[in-house]
Symmetry: C2
Subunit: 419 residues, 2 copies
Amino acid sequence: MSAKSTSRDIRTANRYEVLRQIIARSPTSRQELAATTGLSLATVATLVGELLDLGMLTEVGFEDSAGGRPRGLIAVNPSGGALIGVDIAETYVRVELFDLALGMLARAGEELEPGGKRPEQVAAHVAAAVGTVVSRAGVGSDRVLGVGVSVPGQVDRARGICVYAANWDWHDVPLLGLLARHIVHPLYLDNPLRACTIAELWFGAARGRGDTVVVNLGTGVGAGLALGGGLHRGVSNSAGEWGHTTLVLDGRPCHCGNRGCVETYVGAPGIMTNLRELSPHSPLLHPEDQTATIEALAHGVTAGDPVALEVLRTTARYLGAGIADLVNLLNPEVVVLSSWVAAALGAPLLNEVRAAVGRHALSRPFAVTEIVLSPVQTDPVCLGAATFALEGALGSPRRGHVKTVGRPATPRSRTAQSS
Amino acid sequence: MSAKSTSRDIRTANRYEVLRQIIARSPTSRQELAATTGLSLATVATLVGELLDLGMLTEVGFEDSAGGRPRGLIAVNPSGGALIGVDIAETYVRVELFDLALGMLARAGEELEPGGKRPEQVAAHVAAAVGTVVSRAGVGSDRVLGVGVSVPGQVDRARGICVYAANWDWHDVPLLGLLARHIVHPLYLDNPLRACTIAELWFGAARGRGDTVVVNLGTGVGAGLALGGGLHRGVSNSAGEWGHTTLVLDGRPCHCGNRGCVETYVGAPGIMTNLRELSPHSPLLHPEDQTATIEALAHGVTAGDPVALEVLRTTARYLGAGIADLVNLLNPEVVVLSSWVAAALGAPLLNEVRAAVGRHALSRPFAVTEIVLSPVQTDPVCLGAATFALEGALGSPRRGHVKTVGRPATPRSRTAQSS
Ligand SMILES: [Zn+2]
Ligand SMILES: [Zn+2]
């Protein structure tokens, strides 16, 4: 990393941090922001001035300060712009439109039929849903600051390309280019793991905290890394591929070609295998339906079903051993359990995982690590994707954007700013 | 992390980066430094001016620039100050004194007798060796900018305390306080893993590169993380404890209480176990001597001994699976194999490890990761410890330092600057 990119990053990071704190504390004063962020009052005043000029903030009055002059209060201007988050999943597209305080104003969804997963078809579905949320929210198209798009798999953000998506066997699909044929707003591409991580960083368990690991438990498994106040992406934007960490040498075969990967024990299909190995004919098992099985397990745990409890403990044991390794290696302040499997199994999973991590991790890093469930209430992928658009708008701040009609030759992705 | 600490870090990081590049390219011009670091010429000129004022640099003439004014050349001023690195190991203390270009000027060592490992005794040995190198180098005591001390185990840098050292069963030993009774120079405490990592960052495989993982293969095993141009320490300075990552669930017992830790397969005693399991009565095995066994294996590999080759492959298979997990998780640009086991087994180990990582890692991050042997020729622990002293001097730059006589009440460790 060159020192220059670091210097640019820090200015952008300060802008993020100030807006993050304003969103968290709105309304607030420049003085309070300086105290919270540790930045000088002059720096805060400059950054607040920029955000006011952009219409992202608004002055909302004054508060008394003991013995001093009244302090101006500032708040997010919710109508200062709209942000759109797109969650492209295996079987559906979900799109949400947010105001600048990341309050959701409208939502739309499209099913992806088994035969309709060519890139052009998916792009058309996304474009339709984006059009729907803009019209449902009654927001002028010129108010949309950007559209963040999450697609599962390996993503080249700078070029707006989906390098590889296992679900659909996509290779080097120029997704943003396809979307730009339909969508005039600035577009930002990334994947669900990083979307969930950025959502935790801005609005969840990592906000205002030190280094955080976001353990994503869904069909697949990943570990998003929020280090030093920003997303750790790695040299080719693929950091966080924790699901293919070897947990059991020569263990269960994994679709990645390796054996014994964490994912094969604690992803939803892995948990189904844990159940099947324990009780092959359990009524909890819905062989063709991950969601139904995980929900049945969650109900069973609540009801005290011994098989469900044993599956929970087995899963937590694998997960705890894996998370302990992350705690030892990275010495984070927070570990967040996120995504739908974690949400479904909830507090009982958290408690078993905490105990298992405690058995496996070194005592010193374990003692300073908090392990929590994600506090993000809405779909973290849509929220995080919209946050990429917000970061993009903050990285190249300007009021509105140049509207392009017709078909731009290249996707108008903006990526360097938040890298 | 507060934004403020980030801002301070960036100024310090820029100062590090400029000096690092001057050491690498000496003599060089401000223009070349600006091009290399990506900093503005004005910023480079300011930083160079500070370092000239401190006597750390010297002007050494001019070079022609095509069609322009001659450019002033600057170089490290080797006699601008001395840095001392201390490597406290289980059975010895090694101390090296360096000039400002980190050229070694003098070395001294002390054996630690089995009965002489109380903290006060160790501190006295260190102090004696420090006195020896200063007098051998013929350097005035007032020229010593600082003494970096590496001690194995868990270290509280800010308070100068050795929190836990397994070798000697030290708990909360105020090591810098004990050393400050004898040594008047600024003192900096850390551990060998971080010393080796900072040595790679300043003088080795990580210099001028992106995120780097330094895999330390000795009796113990660790993974030092150089992320974003600096050391990743974690929330309580214990990041890098990779040796206790579970590689084989329910595998070999480890002294940490866990089972199947990486260290039990690829640390020197683990490699001895690999050999013993394959060939219990092998003449390569020196049951009481790790060093002799590893060297016998290295010779055997060179000579084509089938048992030695098989042990190498087995070790590389474990190591490759473990490193693949680091590659997947962190997506680093460089992985460095460092410390004495890696140095002894050298290129044959590197080749087997590369192949094994390729089998286990995901193809995308593997394709962008370079795996190399450490290019650092001298003892990386002494070099790294001295570098902590250099970073300390750069973090609080001043000419020389206030000399204290007698016994200061608190250790004069300087830590905030390089955190
Ligand atoms: Zn896998
Ligand atoms: Zn262990």
